[in-house]
Symmetry: C2
Subunit: 347 residues, 2 copies
Amino acid sequence: MSAGGGRVRIYDVASRAGVSVATASKALNDTGRMTEDTRQRVKAAATELGFRPNAMARGLIQKRSFTIGLLTNDTYGRFTLPVMAGISEALVDQGVSVFLCGIEDDPALGRVHLDAMLDKQVDGIIASGKRIDRRLPVDLSNLPVPVVYAFTEGHEGSVTLVSDDFQGSAEAVEHLIALGCKRIVHVTGPETFASVKERTKAYRAGIGGDGVVLYGAWSEHWGHEAVAQLWQQGETPDAIFCGNDQIARGVVDALRERGVKVPADVSVVGFDNWEIVAGQTRPPLTSVDMNLKALGREAGRLVLELAEGKPVEPGVRKLPCQLVIRESCGGNAAVTESRGGVVAAVD
Amino acid sequence: MSAGGGRVRIYDVASRAGVSVATASKALNDTGRMTEDTRQRVKAAATELGFRPNAMARGLIQKRSFTIGLLTNDTYGRFTLPVMAGISEALVDQGVSVFLCGIEDDPALGRVHLDAMLDKQVDGIIASGKRIDRRLPVDLSNLPVPVVYAFTEGHEGSVTLVSDDFQGSAEAVEHLIALGCKRIVHVTGPETFASVKERTKAYRAGIGGDGVVLYGAWSEHWGHEAVAQLWQQGETPDAIFCGNDQIARGVVDALRERGVKVPADVSVVGFDNWEIVAGQTRPPLTSVDMNLKALGREAGRLVLELAEGKPVEPGVRKLPCQLVIRESCGGNAAVTESRGGVVAAVD
DNA sequence: CTCCTCTGAGAAACCGTTTTCTCGTGCAGA
DNA sequence: TCTGCACGAGAAAACGGTTTCTCAGAGGAG
């Protein structure tokens, strides 16, 4: 059936149903006044013909394109992809499609993409990045369409969504404490990152003291090195809370190479729950998931509300993280599906 | 300047330049006949006002949306992201934007996204996937717009782009042979994958015999296991060509744990050149890059040509892979930047 | 029986461009 | 001087829908 695709116009539907275009339009959109019989006749004709309204024509008059733009500088996609998936999920059944624009860190490229999207009359823009305390290299503060920031820093008075690093880290540390760990250290990324500061703060609050915090790169290599430092100084923790999964993987590998058993001797927690890293580590990593997909869903929902003129309170919203239990902490980690792991009980 | 964004219409430009809309349109598009002076006056007015034409109005009449859709089931984005980057790169300066639609493996979801894109009058569609010998769960064979397949199986008579697994694998094996390796084995993924068959064929052609081929999962775990099998059977190769980087990483880790030196005792080559795996392995992996970004660029270029009505010869096109040298093979691998590595001289 | 209101449906304007026609003018050729 | 043509520019028709307006007729109230 309906093999044609986009060829049939509302005019065809109208004439088949024996009504005017005006009536046809109203019938299909469930607006206007007419006999229920007429409405059904039009709808039937539309289905038979496989009619699909031309979104450009409709958008032109309605001043809505049912399109939003996602601007990101996270070329790698590690953060953007889950966000994108969430956005798409939230919008697809509203008939909204998403333009994905990867602008490295190039202001000119950003401008080009932005202009292209504005020309296409996007209903809104979601800005996303790879770092919560950095802005995209393009100014989005005086646009004719609403903007929502997801996982990147927004402008004054904007709507911004980030994950709650403090809460996520707190849960991780609490989990370790609940398992009986007494000497927990924190191996994390560069001190300049806001997320590093936030996670460190939660770590300190959790253990109720200064603890031991080692700053370094976001790499497996640094994980190795940190373990070397710790064992060299004779400080042997019984748990290591890591700033991300790559560091955690380096830590776990280094421990194994030293003959230290994970989780028997030392428990390890990662951050990001990046399946490809957390899942492939031996043993698989317990890790904090930032729920980026949920964050994307929320961003999609919000930008749509703004586009529809509904009021949305500006400000930064922190969305909760979730601890995903695998095997690197021992304790009650009974089950371990290869994907996703087990979500920690919240209470 | 031009703070408004999308508000100023061609009508405003025309009246400021003291001409009719018709003339304004022709002036801006460098069509029609008029004094050079008039043309410049209109252009000047447009710049001053920051005029940007409404793409919907333009598209409505021109029957072009300057928009294409990317349909993929590669949720993870490992393959799709580089392809996407290439497409975007090829199209952005033509003013074309890209809809990204992630349809898991859900036919219904695929249909919804596809319809949404067609409604929006996309000029063409690029289908992409995570496997070269599988189709997307949605039929794209009788669409009113051109379709190009990139890294996924296309329909009869379609334009399809894939990477040249044979050539890439051949280069890898040649590289090992050139380094003096005599006993090369191949540890790869499930035999059912077309790419596995192709890479195996190239491996056998390269060593001029049946060789040793171990099939398994695409995982680090399988890399470990394969090494265990090889060393248990007393067969100790001096080189291992792996079906992907994850397997290679498992292999390298397993070798290290056995005290076998890489690359001194055994050379290892991966496939995919997935930075996050290949770069973090110790030592960093020499690996075959499928040039997915170039593949994306080509896909973008082709779909645009088709959209413009230019003839494009149907069929499967294989794009060359590239061997990226890092440290896991020794030999002439002198330099090793952390990112990208060194491209093998093609000779 | 008349007047008013309410209902169903169509005519026409509109969205912001592009494109095709049409038309007046000036200049060259006869 | 008259004809024709090229040229510059504007009027108007598209594109494919939505929305506002208008209107004829039915039915109820007085």
